[in-house]
């Protein structure tokens, strides 16, 4: 943890106070992506609509996690915890879908 690098005489760390300009930029980008998601869906992308929607959602989630949830601070244990959750979700998806989608007969 970063705490080990912190000297006991140091004042509370303020190096990670957010820059308002950056906070608002992230807001506009996340909002813009949400509107793009709606716009693209109404336009009708057919079979690729779901992957596109999830990709946009993932970019939005990354921006929120990186900037607003402060993963950018590179607190190693916190980053590892966040990445671990994604890894577990990945395993969950792969194992369940590889079973269900490869069943003989192709049904549930």
């Amino acid at each position: 943890m970063d705490a080990h690098d912190h000297k006991i005489d140091d004042p509370p760390t303020m190096h990670d106070v957010d820059n308002p300009a950056k906070v608002f930029t992230v807001y506009l980008v996340v909002l813009g992506l949400a509107l793009a998601n709606i716009g693209l869906s109404v336009a009708g992308l057919g079979s690729i609509s779901l992957p596109v929607q999830l990709a946009i959602g993932s970019v939005q989630a990354f921006l929120v996690a990186w900037y607003w949830m402060h993963l950018r601070r590179k607190d190693t244990v916190v980053t590892l915890t966040a990445v671990t959750s994604l890894f577990f979700v990945f395993i969950f998806y792969v194992l369940v879908l590889s079973d269900v989608l490869t069943r003989q007969g192709g049904g549930l």
């Binding site: 943890m1 705490a3 080990h4 912190h6 000297k7 006991i8 005489d9 140091d10 004042p11 509370p12 760390t13 303020m14 990670d16 106070v17 957010d18 308002p20 906070v23 807001y27 996340v30 909002l31 949400a34 509107l35 998601n37 709606i38 869906s41 109404v42 336009a43 009708g44 992308l45 057919g46 609509s49 779901l50 929607q53 999830l54 959602g57 939005q60 989630a61 929120v64 996690a65 900037y67 607003w68 949830m69 402060h70 607190d75 916190v78 915890t81 966040a82 671990t84 959750s85 994604l86 577990f88 979700v89 969950f92 998806y93 369940v96 879908l97 269900v100 989608l101 049904g107 549930l108």
Partner: protein
């Protein structure tokens, strides 16, 4: 002795405030991992059923209220912005802006729940609820499609909800399992996902609102000094996760059939 070792905020088992803040953040992140895994179960189930029943999911989704979902998305993203600004105010020791940003976040979250309540009310009124209500409405529409004369049809149309009439018309002359048949049972399956996922998300919003209310009270009583900003940050982590989950729920539930509108 240093300011950090003398701080009343510092718990005795931590060396310094930075270590304490890191531990608090890590504790919340561990909790968020369990939340992610909890919701991923719902998302995996949804993915499987949508894969097998795309037409039914698109049909049901096209009858949800997209403008409310869009507006609620704007409200939640904006609430995440104000929450982030609240952390900044806490870090800078600005009590009044902190309280204002927290109140704004609370108002935006409450607005989300208000629109959600209106949406639920409309869905119930339109009988978009899986179970007996749905089956009865659909059976009425099928009966009407099969027997009513053109004259009585016009009169009856005013009493049948739009989705049931549309589904009955679509399925007229088609057999169960035939290409193009939209199964009412699978439409209800989508509605189950819709109600369960949005309700669980709504409960999380309510819990977040409770935490934000508590933060306002703490800030008003001067219990969130500058060196204790992580109290706000820990709640904000939870709030951002709830926001993030909505960013996936919105397209999965509301945009699955957006291209179908008016077909």
């Amino acid at each position: 002795m240093s300011a950090s070792t003398h701080s009343p905020v510092l718990k005795h088992h931590f060396d310094n405030l930075e270590q304490q803040h890191s531990a608090e953040r890590l504790g919340m992140w561990m909790f968020l991992v369990t939340e992610v895994l909890f919701f991923s179960g719902l998302f995996v189930s949804y993915t499987i059923y949508r894969h097998f029943f795309p037409a039914e999911f698109a049909f049901a989704s096209s009858h949800l209220i997209l403008w409310i979902a869009g507006l609620n998305t704007v409200l939640l993203i904006t609430s995440s912005l104000t929450m982030t600004l609240a952390i900044r105010a806490a870090q800078l020791g600005q009590k009044k802006p902190l309280i204002n940003y927290l109140l704004l976040t609370f108002a935006l979250g409450a607005g989300f729940m208000g629109f959600k309540a209106f949406e639920y009310y409309t869905d119930i009124h339109e009988k978009l609820v899986p179970g007996e209500v749905f089956r009865t409405e659909y059976a009425k529409a099928v009966e009407h499609e099969a027997h009513a004369s053109a004259a009585t049809k016009k009169d009856h149309e005013e009493h049948i909800e739009h989705w049931a009439e549309e589904l009955a018309k679509h399925n007229k002359g088609k057999e169960l399992g035939q290409d193009g048949y939209i199964s009412p049972e699978k439409v209800q399956l989508f509605l189950m996902f819709y109600w369960i996922m949005t309700a669980i998300h709504g409960i999380h919003i309510l819990a977040g609102l409770g935490c934000i209310g508590w933060l306002v009270q703490q800030a008003a009583c001067n219990k969130i000094p500058r060196e204790n900003y992580s109290t706000v940050e820990v709640v904000s982590l939870y709030w951002h996760l709830v926001d993030m989950i909505w960013l996936f729920l919105m397209p999965l539930l509301y945009l699955a059939g957006a291209g179908m509108k008016g077909h």
